[in-house]
Symmetry: C2
DNA sequence: CTGTATCCACAATGATACTG
DNA sequence: CAGTATCATTGTGGATACAG
């Protein structure tokens, strides 16, 4: 619906193009990428998209063995940006719950869009890389 | 418009949630971010969204004074991934043109979505940061 | 003009130990 | 359990010189 590639053979289709008010910010795309472009933020958002999680739960759910340090830094930044809320229960031992805010939930839509695009074009990208690698290995392996 | 927050007070709205086949890849979101998350790729895609550009044209159009090295690395990776095409004209001096592929154009839709979200939530994020900073400056400035 | 190669600076991340 | 502090390591990007 949103994307919908009308013609695959046409070199220049509808030309969405990005129209920015301030070219220096390229519409603020950098803002989002600075927030999601790091190594762990997306994992946190994806995990919290399923519901409330505690610190340790997040750490265990996230693939790649995130360190305490990085998880703390990541959720802190997300909290500061209003993507997640942090609720501390003064129990022993302490319990802290993280939850997506309204904006955080809207972010999941965006992440979903990224995922859809990625899955849709993954085969093409793989093929493109293979072709490129093959075409550029001749200087080393050719002759 | 596409998001449409039905209820701002409801903690759990429509719950889009990200449903992955392989949680380890979180639907491959990381793939896209690895491609757009770097410092310059988005600028190149945005600029090429407007049409064909030469190397020097790209370098001049991109804000932030990108070095030759980084521009080369960036367009090489985009070329390898099938996002852009590279056409060399054996003239003197040499002339090289870069252009978005079909997939590259579809990427601009995604970038557009990022831009839209960013602009829509920028005020909220700014307010959230201000509030957070204010709430966390007390330990240093307060009392 | 379009690149490549080398060296350097810095930010991001990881590992570990320690605290409440 | 949750978080902080410190240090080591890595990756990314920048500056420059050089080549085709």
């Amino acid at each position: 619906m949103s994307v919908g590639h009308t013609a695959v053979t046409t070199p220049v289709p509808d030309e969405p193009v990005i129209v920015c008010e301030t070219p220096q910010d390229e519409c603020g795309v950098r803002d989002v990428l600075d927030r999601l472009g790091d190594k762990w933020s997306v994992y946190v958002v994806v995990e919290l998209a399923s519901g409330i999680r505690r610190f340790k739960e997040l750490q265990r759910a996230i693939p790649g063995n995130i360190s305490q340090r990085m998880l703390t830094l990541t959720v802190r930044r997300l909290e500061r940006d209003g993507v997640v809320t942090r609720t501390v229960y003064p129990t022993v031992p302490p319990q802290v719950e993280y939850e997506l805010t309204e904006m955080g939930h809207s972010l999941t839509h965006l992440v979903k869009a990224l995922a859809d695009w990625s899955i849709a074009h993954r085969p093409f990208i793989a093929a493109s890389r293979a072709a490129w690698d093959a075409a550029h290995s001749e200087s080393a392996a050719g002759d």
